[in-house]
Amino acid sequence: MRKALPTAILSFVATIVLIDYWFKIPVVNNMAKDFTTWVSVIANVALGLGAVNLVLVHSRHIRLKRMEWGNSLVLIVLMLYVMVIGIAQSSNSPTYRWIYDNINVPLGSTLFATAAFQIASASYRTFRARNVESGLLLITGIFVMLGKVPLGEMMASWMPTFAQWIMDVWNTAAQRGIMICTAIGLVIISVRVITGMERGHFGSGE
């Protein structure tokens, strides 16, 4: 029952949405539209669950004085502060926007900026010629990198064209292969979930 009922609901809703995609039947189209609205409602209710989980986990950290409990305190205080500002003044208020633009955005940008260093260290590990595959990757990587910088063109005039050929032919072919297979995989897993064949996400046991 613990798995059967959610599977039945899932199958019913998915069937309605699928019929809505292929057929113009007013009753079904309206039902599908309602289901889409319910998704937003459920997601918003779940947001409350998420906030409760955050408060529970971090208040426990503070209470037990676990490692870096100060961070948990900052998180809870800031979360409540932003929540109060958002409810009292709306999310378009200057104070709310200021917090978002001056704290959230720069922090995200800073972390994104570290990607360059992460790429360098990951590439160093990957591009070591340990076997035939990584050797080929190393050689191809060198050609593509040289083809993308002026130094490569200075070394050999054909380098940019060759690098572009690798990107356009080999890289695109591999990407499209992965893309087609992924799309087929998506359909299969969706059918398996809708028909209840794949139920691992409900947990083990009945």
Binding site: A43, G50, A115, A122, G185, I189, V191
Partner: protein, 259 residues
């Protein structure tokens, strides 16, 4: 009543569904279906083994996304992996941390973990705090995961599901912290980052085979065989259309198939 512009999508879906049920029938009749080895999925047991030996936890995440929209199948595939890991970890008394980025995934992930502990006969070892909603913001989510991995001294980091720009950050920092890293994504832009930074990588469709692979359930494997048949048909169609168009110069097939 029928939207005619979507006829090929219907034919494709119908073909895949027919192939799926045909193979399911074969599996039910007892035909043993072959499944090739996938190193990334075999390594899941290695992670649990090492964690049990060292007495350290494992971290798993289905990535950035919810149970609706385009990322849903990847998230569900990630939850299948979490389910397998949770069962193994509960059996061998290994702590498993799971982080989610959407609140609606949280109760599902918590339920998976709880059910695994009950199934293993250890309901007392289930800790609700081990499954956490972190943030919907991708870099806040990624940095919080790295914080958990560092503080809790996780021995492995399993990242199979839906990932965007945070993939490299997660994978590389996990590797720097000494974790066994297993990544899996369908996002074409993130796969190279996982390949570069992770010890094991599931590429594209391999992400969706996790549930069937780890359970070795023949009915689930039947679904994978259907996937392979669909792939073979797609390849055959591509070759036929390419040859026909090249040899005759007639582009009618290309137009019909909207290629």
């Amino acid at each position: 009543m029928f939207i005619t512009t979507r006829v090929y999508a219907l034919i494709t879906a119908a073909t895949i569904v027919i192939a799926l049920f045909y193979n399911l029938n074969l599996a039910k009749k007892g035909k043993k279906l072959y499944l090739r080895r996938i190193a990334g999925l075999d390594a899941l047991d290695e992670c649990v083994g090492r964690a049990a030996e060292m007495g350290r936890p494992i971290h798993v995440t289905p990535g950035l996304g919810g149970l609706t929209g385009t990322s849903a199948p990847q998230i569900l595939a990630g939850l299948e992996i979490q389910s397998y890991m949770a069962n193994k970890c509960a059996t061998y008394d290994v702590r498993l941390f799971c982080s989610v980025s959407e609140p609606e995934v949280l109760p599902v992930a918590q339920e998976i973990q709880k059910a695994a502990h009950i199934a293993a006969g250890r309901p007392d070892t289930y800790r609700e705090e081990d499954v956490r909603f972190l943030s919907q913001s991708q870099f806040a989510f990624a940095s919080a995961i790295i914080g958990i991995i560092e503080r809790e001294h996780c021995v492995a980091s399993v990242m199979i599901g839906a990932f965007a720009a945070e993939a490299l950050f997660l994978a590389e920092n996990s590797a720097q912290l000494g974790c066994i890293t297993i990544g899996g994504a369908t996002n074409l832009y993130q796969i190279p980052f996982f390949i570069a930074a992770c010890d094991y990588t599931l590429v594209g469709e391999e992400v969706f085979v996790g549930g069937a692979y780890v359970s070795q359930d023949q009915t689930k494997i039947a679904g994978l065989r259907a996937q392979d048949i669909a792939k073979a048909l797609t390849i055959a169609l591509l070759i036929i259309v390419t040859l026909y168009t090249t040899l005759t110069g007639d582009k009618s097939l290309v137009k019909i198939l909207n290629l």
